[in-house]
Symmetry: C2
Subunit: 81 residues, 2 copies
Amino acid sequence: MKATVFVTVKENVLDPQGKAVQGALHSMGFDEVGEVRIGKYMELNLDTNDALVAEERVRTMCEKLLANTVIEDYRFELKGE
Amino acid sequence: MKATVFVTVKENVLDPQGKAVQGALHSMGFDEVGEVRIGKYMELNLDTNDALVAEERVRTMCEKLLANTVIEDYRFELKGE
């Protein structure tokens, strides 16, 4: 199955990369752009068919490696083959 | 309205960041992990209510700044307030 993981900077944490992109868009004339938040998007192929086990494993991967839970939130979706 | 933009490395382009994460997960005992692809996930607040205009504008932002269309694909979703 396939896991899609989204990692985003927490609401109350500054996102300098987003600020930079917002500034660049403004300087290009896209004045309608307000706040920009940038995160990561990951696709993992998993060699397992047990959705419950996969959910538990992906959660552990996020906690231990994929997200820095001090400043980032994560969520993920699982899709069977 | 809000635009959610996903930028991913094209299928036939190497993703060294994904390879690194895959290696790290393997070394942590997550042997079920196959290919990993890493992309960007962006949320843009837009000060507009016209979905057709917004779609055209966000497409231009992707083409000009948010994605490197030589090696990256992008897709986006618009959500009204």
